[in-house]
Symmetry: C2
Subunit: 162 residues, 2 copies
DNA sequence: CCTAACACATTGAGCGTTCAACTAATTCCG
DNA sequence: CGGAATTAGTTGAACGCTCAATGTGTTAGG
């Protein structure tokens, strides 16, 4: 692994602030979404992915990686969301093992309902606290981490065309 | 709240990278800790706080805020860690409602066992991917978020003496 | 071909977290 | 002082996630 065994004091400081910021931010986001829209944050992310793709449907596998879920997590989540009527499972034409997950109109509507409050929370608690340069910096830092953790296959993050 | 309703495209990009980085990083950390040391990441953080304080004991309430737990979460967590023998509950002398949580020798040992692997994972997946300037930037960004989210009362984060 | 290895997706048990409800002690204030 | 509001901490049910195991379809290699 890296250089020494321990963190420098600058790294320590950063690490602790990072942990605190993340937990506070994510807790806040989750609370807001759950309270105002009755969905946990990961479900929201799944709906977003589906809503952005042509046909509003995706193979379970691609939906999993693009929403950073394990397959298992996604299965459970889709089961719940199917009960809620937000999503529908279909068989895959080209691979009989596969399943395709399709966003329903009700699901799209739920997403449209949830989005404004969610975005406002993100803005208030993150972007309103940062300078424009810091927004860029945070993006670069995050992309470096994602790149290392194999998130290559995530989506346009690398911003080549498409 | 903030300016407009939506995020700029730069903010969008940053936000998605940030979400991906966080989930990938935290999942990795949790997996490593659980696998190698049999504890979830939040428990590790609690042990760390206790280990750093004189007497290795803290009021439940302070332990909760300093580890960014809800009271309820901490109660459940301490119950589990008490079963594991890592921690012990004592009555509070000055407030009969209160409880004090004390780190046992076994708990300290468990922490010492877990630390090297954990730190190595943090280093490999975060700090080794960043330039020294980015480490500073991430610290500043995180502190801005923490400050807004009322993490004032967390701990020396604001780096006044103490 | 036909089997062995692999990939897709689901399932259930176990666990940690949340939320709301609750007990009990303390503080505030008229 | 004495009652109301606040604060400390716990509890149980509901729920999402992880992990390991399973079923089933696909691909590769002898």
């Amino acid at each position: 692994m890296g250089h020494n065994q321990w963190l420098t004091s600058e790294e320590q400081r950063t690490w602790r602030a990072f942990l605190a910021a993340n937990r506070l931010l994510m807790d806040q986001l989750g609370r807001q979404l759950q309270h105002d829209s009755g969905m946990p944050h990961p479900y929201y992310e799944i709906l977003v992915r589906l809503s952005e793709v042509p046909g509003r449907e995706l193979r379970m596998s691609q939906l999993a990686t693009s929403s950073m879920s394990s397959r298992s997590r996604l299965s459970h989540a889709v089961a719940k969301m199917e009960e809620a009527g937000w999503v529908r499972r279909k068989e895959c034409e080209t691979d009989r093992r596969g399943a395709v997950c399709e966003l329903t109109d009700a699901g799209f509507a739920a997403l449209e309902d949830a989005a404004p409050g969610h975005v406002a929370t993100v803005r208030e608690n993150l972007f309103d606290q940062l300078t424009p340069e810091q927004v860029v910096q945070l993006g670069e830092i995050s992309e470096a981490v994602v790149k290392h953790l194999g998130g290559d296959k995530l989506w346009p993050l690398g911003d080549r065309q498409s």
